[in-house]
Amino acid sequence: MENYIIWLLPLPPLLSFFLIILFTNKNKKISHSIAIGAAGLSWLGSMAVFICALGVKEFGKHVYGSAINWLPTGTTWFKIGVMIDPLSAAVVFFVAWTVLAIFIYSVGYHNFGQPKGDHDIAGLPPHGATITDQHGHQHTVPSIEPMYSRFFAFISLFAFGMYTLVVSDNLLTLFVGWEIMGLCSYLLIGFWFGKPSARNAAVKAFMTTRIGDVFMLLGIAFIYSFTGSLSFRDIFKPGMLQALASTPAFFGLSAAGIIGLLLFIGTVGKSAQWPLHVWLPDAMEGPTPVSAMIHAATMVSAGVYMVIRMFPLISAGWTVGMPLNTTMGVIAFIGAFTALFAATIAVAQNDIKRVLAYSTISQLGFMIAALGIGAYVAAAFHLVTHAFFKALLFLGSGSVIHGMEHGEMHTGDHSVDPQDMFNMGGLRRRMPITFWTFLIGGFALSGFPILTAGFWSKDEIFAEAFGNGHMVVFIVLAVAAFLTAFYTMRQITLTFFGKPRTEVAEHASESKWTMTLPLIVLAVFAVGCGWVGIPEKFPVLGGILPNWFHEFVGSTLAEVPKAVTFSWTPLLTSLCVALGGLFCGWLAYRKVQSPVEDKLQIPLLKNKYYFDELYNFLFVKPAGWFSEKFAYLFMDRTVIDGILHSVARFSLFLGGFFRNKIDKPVINEFIGDGTGNVVKASGSRLRKIQAGRIQYYMVASVAFLVIFALLYYYLIGGM
């Protein structure tokens, strides 16, 4: 039964998408009921599958799944199907929770239940509505999003894409889900398409991820041409992997290496790794639930999920302890570099969401790096915990922004940027629930020891990197982790501690329950989900709870990886960087009142190492020049237009010739008019016969009858 329930997991969001788009888009309440109901159904199915999977012994060897024949390819069939193995079970678990939480959160975020805005137009964020209370006072209150139903339709489709991707048992449907998410990210980042920045961000996200997707498609094509199948189960057969690993391809890499590299470029795009990281910070232009959706629950997780999924291929021919092969080396390098690189940028950002965006890039770099050094389970573990606490942080930041906007409404001061952390401060009193949950999320991100989930997953990465001797990666990641704790504490300090720095922050207020409830739920997971993966050798705590996650997810691989030997060095490092970072962050920013006092507002970091400008100079400008000068002016206007014009002139001449010399005299006058005239003349003479008088006809027919009878009798009958 579980084999078939899986098919149904992606279905409700899709149905919800079509229902809302086609039928209910006028009614906001029905629309969000449908969307949340669909997300709830998928959540229910996911939990059912997950719980069933928990009950199966050695689940990695007895996965759920079914497949159908889809496309005949010669004598065989191209099969598509669904599969839930331990890895996808873990992923589907966090996807279901975060998606449901984000859906519910969106109801509050888009001000459901508030009046329609005074000047709101579709395509721009709502500006607020003026109401008059019973005492006659005028208040400005938040107004409902004009494209409310459309938003729920899009995120439903987004959820459909993610579920499809997770339950796929082959690269093709995975890619389909992948691309649907690409489309949805475009639609949702550009949800407020009235803002030029949102438009540009949407295009940028779409174009940047496209680069990765093209390479990924190449990888898929390569793998299909090599193996004749896209099904994971076929590809990951030991014999097949062996063959892939031993077949040399280009650049001195094996086929497996090339394929792994190509697919990894897809991940680089999707999960915003250097050098394709530039779209993700800009994607903050979308509504905050979308940011949470993209950066926590679905899109970037999908990239990491895919590369984890393809780990057997990437690591084909490699075993623990061996030096990394080229592909893994590249992956480890990019992951570690991105982790550090993004963390440094995050330190200098003032926008509350941008800090989180760079932190996401950085954390994804952690996972990629972990995978690159072969720490399969650690990468998956960090993926899960990160999804929870990052979703929590984004939703929390959305709540903060919402609170700030509320303050703006109250004061009527619209010059204050509600996302700038230097305009905040002291919000812990105004927004206690948001503060506590945000604090939990931030500590989890920083890896606050013992309590939070982030500590355990990050610690595992450190342990793996140290235990397997990848010291460069270990050190880089440690620095990155320190920076992470630092900028997290900077953010929390600037936002919640101290005194309100603006009047707006003074009047900020706590959000509604639809927004805080998901925060609380996610906070629980941000704390609790780390405890399923405590290493067994860990002092004091180890062994109280079994290292369930390691065994469960590890069983996905043909050869269950051994837990790394316990060592104090990474643990102490982890403790130091986390606590140290937090402490430094608090110390440095508890007195800071304005950006001027911030010592870290270095232009290089502030401007993200000038990557946008670099890309602009390297790619956008030349492309613009090329299309303007070469394609338009030379190719199009001169060459192609010239050819076309001469063809047209020739045709004109030819047409004139035919018309004047052949068509007019011969066909028109002789054949056309001549036939007509002949017919007309004969008709006008013959029409007298048709008198319309019945008796003429009768007389004529009887007369002919008589004549023919006489003829017959005398000519034939008489013989």
Binding site: V702, A703, V706, A709
Partner: protein
Amino acid sequence: MTVEQIIFIITGLFTLGSAFMVVTTQKLIQAALWLVSALFGVTILYAILQADFLAVVQVVVYIGAIAVLFIFAVMLTRKELRDQGSQTRSNWWIAALLGALVLAGLVFLIIGEPAFNRMAQAIPAGVDTLRNLGTALVSPDAYVMPFEVASVLLLSALVGAVYIASRKGEEK
């Protein structure tokens, strides 16, 4: 010349004379009534031919229904009851010529065929022609198909006549 022949000749002359009046009389109502008289002559011919059923049906259908319908139609299609002008076309002589030609040809053919000089045999005793006719009309071996088709034809004629003659749709 036997009595039967005399009766036949009288009936025939009566029929043909009435028919001639039908096509020549100037008053249409009288033409219709002459038609009744001609049809009555035909009825007598049926009786002489011992086709009792047809004789009676001739009266019921032709005189009782068709002739009455004609009279109705004549009355309904004029503004005053009197007829005006000639009822005959100017080139009636062509029609007369054609009719005479056809008649001459037919008579020539009939007289030239010796088989047509036969006399009727007495209907054998025990042959109930009425019962035979009834059986033939509804027997699947015989004429049930034409009979049913004819009844469908009558139904469609009924519907069609009602539709055509109804005033609906003409009211402005």
